[in-house]
């Protein structure tokens, strides 16, 4: 109790208040209001935690965990730690859980748990282990701490209150760990940015211009895309090979899976005079007119 440096600070009215509080409740017992708050918030926190583990939908799990964290924050406030209570609500339910929800929505809401057991009997073993751990912890605690005397927090009695006491501790006795957390936070931010951006840049789609430049630089096997199948007056099947300008078959246009249809070059036509065609038609039209 006297381990803190600030216990040496002047305390004006606190001993009298503590004397009154101690007289109101038996030693080791909390006040009635705190007991009511505990018996309301504790079961809510437990129910939220159980629901989080057993909810099939991940979004329901996140919301139930938010309920648990909110009630824990209220419990902190009941336990003379108002700063931690508000930090819990702001940081955990406000920031962390919303981050979880964002990631859940990005990943896809319907990516629910698989029911397949990869390890045989793993769920049963996990349940047995969990019940054993709970029994061990609860039994040990209940046996070891039968009546924990409730010592009022002296540091809360300094004029600055809980936040001032915490600030004094953090910036005097725990200054070095506090500075270390800054390094931790910077490293975490850098790591998150690295993980989030490095992959998306590698997987970015090339633009059309970049593709063309890569082709001209010789990064592809050929400059132009592969020739499509031949489309001729006689056939437009994908099994028809394309012809190169010199009339030979372009081998790259042939499908390996389909049996190719040979291209039969049409017999060379006699060169026609276009005027002869139109002249014949004109003669026919004239004959028709004469017949009428």
């Amino acid at each position: 109790m006297t381990a803190l440096p600030m216990t040496a600070l002047p305390m004006t009215a606190s001993p009298m208040i503590h004397g009154v509080l101690a007289a109101a409740t038996p030693v080791g017992q909390v006040s009635l209001g705190e007991a009511i708050a505990f018996w309301v918030l504790g079961p809510v926190a437990l129910a939220g935690a159980l629901g989080m583990v057993f909810a099939r939908n991940a979004v329901h799990s996140a919301l139930l965990l938010a309920v648990t964290m909110l009630s824990l924050g209220a419990l902190y406030m009941v336990e003379q730690a108002p700063f931690l209570g508000f930090t819990q609500i702001i940081v955990y339910t406000g920031a962390v859980m919303m981050l979880f929800l964002f990631v859940l929505m990005l990943v896809g809401r319907d990516s629910s748990d698989s029911v397949v057991e990869v390890l045989r009997g793993q769920r049963l073993a996990a349940a047995v282990l969990g019940i054993g751990l709970a029994g061990l912890l609860v039994g040990a605690l209940a046996g070891a701490l039968p009546v924990a005397a409730d010592v009022p927090i002296d540091a809360n009695d300094v004029p600055a209150g809980n936040v001032g006491g915490l600030g004094k501790l953090i910036f005097t006795q725990y200054l070095f760990p506090f500075e270390l957390t800054s390094a931790l936070l910077i490293t975490a931010a850098l790591g998150a940015m690295l993980l989030a951006f490095s992959q998306s840049r590698n997987a970015a789609k090339k633009t059309q211009r970049e593709t063309v430049e890569a082709r001209l630089r010789g990064e592809h096997a050929r400059i132009s895309p592969l020739p499509g199948p031949g489309v001729f007056a006689t056939s437009n099947s994908v099994a028809t090979p394309a012809l190169l300008p010199d009339g030979s078959v372009a081998p790259e246009s042939l499908s390996e899976l389909l049996e190719t249809v040979p291209v039969t070059p049409s017999p060379p036509l006699e060169p026609l005079d276009a005027r002869a065609l139109t002249a014949a038609r004109a003669e026919r039209a004239a004959e028709k007119e004469e017949g009428e």
Binding site: A3, L4, G28, A35, A49, M52, V53, A58, A62, L65, T68, L72, Y76, E79, A81, L84, T87, Q88, Y92, V96, F100, V107, S111, S112, S114, V116, V118, A125, A127, G130, A134, L137, V138, L141, A142, L145, V147, A148, A149, D150, V151, I153, A155, N156, N162, G165, L169, I170, P177, F178, T181, L185, T187, A188, G191, A192, L195, A196, Q199, S200
Partner: protein, 99 residues
């Protein structure tokens, strides 16, 4: 009731979180169970601070919150990058480190 009840509640929450880590397959839900375990430990720290009449436990809980926040950021980034390559957030599918 005595302040010990808070410790019992915290022990129960910690056990539930541990069971969740072992049972659930969705990486994000596993992560939420880890958060629950951290919260349970925070409740223990705050309760011990109150029992001992000092603020050191609250300072520890404060540092745990800082570590948990940075852990969430990095962990969710890892889960997102695994999801980008594997198209799945199940811990059973992430059985190779590289791909």
């Amino acid at each position: 009731m005595t302040p010990t009840y808070y410790l019992l509640l915290s022990a129960l929450l910690f056990s539930i979180g541990a069971v969740g880590v072992l049972v659930r397959r969705n990486a994000i839900v596993v992560f939420m169970c880890i958060e629950l375990m951290l919260n349970a430990v925070n409740l223990t720290l705050v309760t011990f601070a109150r029992i001992n009449g000092g603020l050191d436990g609250q300072v520890m809980a404060f540092f745990v919150m800082v570590v948990a926040a940075s852990e969430v950021v990095v962990g969710l980034a890892i889960i997102m990058s695994i999801f980008r390559t594997r198209r799945s957030s199940s811990v059973d599918d992430a059985n190779l480190l590289k791909y």
